[in-house]
Symmetry: C2
Subunit: 312 residues, 2 copies
Amino acid sequence: RKKILVTGGAGFVGSHLVDLLMSQGHEVVVLDNFFTGRKANVEHWLHHPNFSLVRHDVTQPILLEIDQIYHLACPASPPHYQYNPVKTIKTSTMGTINMLGLAKRVKARILLASTSEIYGDPTVHPQPESYWGNVNTIGPRACYDEGKRVAETMMYAYKNQNGVSVRIARIFNTFGPRMHPNDGRVVSNFIIQSLQNKDITIYGSGAQTRSFQYVDDLVKGLHALMNGDYDLPVNLGNPDEYSIKDFATKIRDMTQSKSEIIFLPKVADDPSQREPDISTARRELNWEPRVSVEEGLRKTIEYFRGEVDAAG
Amino acid sequence: RKKILVTGGAGFVGSHLVDLLMSQGHEVVVLDNFFTGRKANVEHWLHHPNFSLVRHDVTQPILLEIDQIYHLACPASPPHYQYNPVKTIKTSTMGTINMLGLAKRVKARILLASTSEIYGDPTVHPQPESYWGNVNTIGPRACYDEGKRVAETMMYAYKNQNGVSVRIARIFNTFGPRMHPNDGRVVSNFIIQSLQNKDITIYGSGAQTRSFQYVDDLVKGLHALMNGDYDLPVNLGNPDEYSIKDFATKIRDMTQSKSEIIFLPKVADDPSQREPDISTARRELNWEPRVSVEEGLRKTIEYFRGEVDAAG
Ligand SMILES: NC(=O)c1ccc[n+]([C@@H]2O[C@H](COP(=O)([O-])OP(=O)(O)OC[C@H]3O[C@@H](n4cnc5c(N)ncnc54)[C@H](O)[C@@H]3O)[C@@H](O)[C@H]2O)c1
Ligand SMILES: NC(=O)c1ccc[n+]([C@@H]2O[C@H](COP(=O)([O-])OP(=O)(O)OC[C@H]3O[C@@H](n4cnc5c(N)ncnc54)[C@H](O)[C@@H]3O)[C@@H](O)[C@H]2O)c1
Ligand SMILES: O=c1ccn([C@@H]2O[C@H](COP(=O)(O)OP(=O)(O)O)[C@@H](O)[C@H]2O)c(=O)[nH]1
Ligand SMILES: O=c1ccn([C@@H]2O[C@H](COP(=O)(O)OP(=O)(O)O)[C@@H](O)[C@H]2O)c(=O)[nH]1
Ligand SMILES: O=c1ccn([C@@H]2O[C@H](COP(=O)(O)OP(=O)(O)O)[C@@H](O)[C@H]2O)c(=O)[nH]1
Ligand SMILES: O=c1ccn([C@@H]2O[C@H](COP(=O)(O)OP(=O)(O)O)[C@@H](O)[C@H]2O)c(=O)[nH]1
């Protein structure tokens, strides 16, 4: 039984990870500033003796006694991370420095939730961990992409210089229950638009691709990575690749929606293709996604149906 | 007449910039922690009423009243920036955030000394500003490269969000008097080795290329950029490209040295080619290098001869 810190633990991915760790009997501390997270996501643990929720911003130092850190705090959807780019960068830079300082002091292992966005608009497809990426330092996505890139750099600097035990997950597009309905990401947008029979909004031609993993798979991968021996970056994603246009059709069909698919202007610097090469995760963690996109979508549609109905 | 802050002003480039600004009659404040800089570089101004030298680390906040900031504080040579990678990253991230916070508060224009290293090991040659780069986030150079990349991102985040007036110089390899003799960079190494008739150390095959500019040209470019209207990144460098092997021979010939040229192992992630496309600087700043590499080397060899003689 360990004392485990989850920064961003009231968010979408973080709250599912908390569920796993709590179910294993660990003591779990969540740090969250509730920028995009919600207390409701961890409400079911609030009265559990092993659980603490601390309203705290990771850009500020904090003293805790813990054994492991899952460092997830950072807005993840483009509209959210572009809402206050300065804050997004401070969260990834100062926030990661603080968590590494903490990890160093208490000799905790720390896992960074990095992202496929560090590959930018990739010229290599699918993307292995050895690919260095193609990111615009001054574009609208840079506050997120470059913040995560330098956070990775910080991790190995503290490892090599201070012996901090580090893990890096490069997470590819993930979906599932507890995604914020106003999140602005493609899965939540398309499902809600479909359920409400509103226009399904494709940005650009819809030929750009993404590969979607269900959140339960991701959380198992994060856990395996944290507790395994491999300490170089590992892609976690489902290689099942869709064009955004096919994905729109799929969701419309699955929801039996009457929505029309419409095409809006392309977003600046939008990656044109993305698919994880997961051979490292297969080899080193014996991990691969178990939930098909179809099955994951069914559960997620059900969740959003509840949210939409609740909102009236 | 302006109040001008130069961070890293006791370093190689910074001290030459201070000379230019002081000669124009400005009030100049230097912030430096003397990690790689030397008081001797600005000694000749210490008693001037317009000059102040503040021993300060840019990773700490500071209150000043100034009109312009040249933000140069950061070790620049690979052995120096790799000596304490954690500190290098903190300098570029926390240091740049502090200087941007200062710029925002006092409404000062801020110029970042970025670097050709943000292009990494470039796959496009020569490098225009529109090239996104090829950098390894977890390699030995990342503490410098990724620190500068995210510093660029921060600049535009503060510009777009807080109206801070920003300038970005992407500086290519620069040389001249006041380079630190133990700096470890190629120009200082090769000249000192030649003057002492010691082996000239080439890392790798020597087929890798660099383009070298004389520091006087750079300083004029920085000044033109700061005081012009163009606010996107600008390459500042001399497109005169040499293989490191030819460069070694050139320096050996110019110093009439008896040194042998020897080949040591290649350095990890060493960029294989580098040459600035300076059409933006030509067009927007009416700037181009005036000092030939040959002429610059003559002055620099003279300087190092003095240093070597003084050391005995
Ligand atoms: N969901 C994905 O598809 C995806 C893909 C790649 C990477 N990731 C990464 O996984 C992590 C979690 O993503 P998510 O999808 O759960 O996003 P999310 O927005 O739901 O969760 C992020 C959480 O961090 C909190 N937070 C943000 N800034 C903070 C700060 N300064 N201090 C404290 N807490 C702060 C938010 O309130 C929220 O609870 C992020 O680091 C994200 O970059 C997610
Ligand atoms: N010289 C080049 O070829 C070159 C090329 C590209 C970019 N640059 C950039 O130009 C700037 C100056 O480079 P340089 O060649 O003069 O290097 P330098 O090492 O001679 O100068 C850097 C100065 O910054 C100071 N400094 C470092 N960390 C600091 C901190 N935390 N707080 C306060 N001061 C600090 C050092 O003491 C030194 O005086 C750097 O930002 C560098 O990245 C230089
Ligand atoms: O238990 C801790 C230890 C450190 N830090 C923060 O982590 C940062 C980086 O720590 P490090 O030890 O690298 O920094 P230093 O204290 O040496 O500047 C510091 O700014 C601290 O504020 C923290 O929040 N909690
Ligand atoms: O309503 C939407 C939301 C997103 N997208 C596109 O879907 C892809 C995935 O976008 P998302 O914001 O979910 O994630 P990311 O771009 O960060 O992978 C991108 O090409 C977006 O342009 C879209 O066409 N319509
Ligand atoms: O005159 C100033 C103003 C700000 N800062 C620092 O700059 C950083 C970023 O400033 P910003 O205004 O973005 O931060 P905030 O104060 O809003 O957190 C802060 O941490 C301050 O410590 C500084 O050193 N001098
Ligand atoms: O004694 C030396 C120092 C440097 N270099 C090479 O010269 C080039 C320029 O190195 P420097 O450290 O001056 O600058 P940077 O690599 O940052 O451009 C690189 O290919 C180095 O590997 C070399 O061959 N011998």
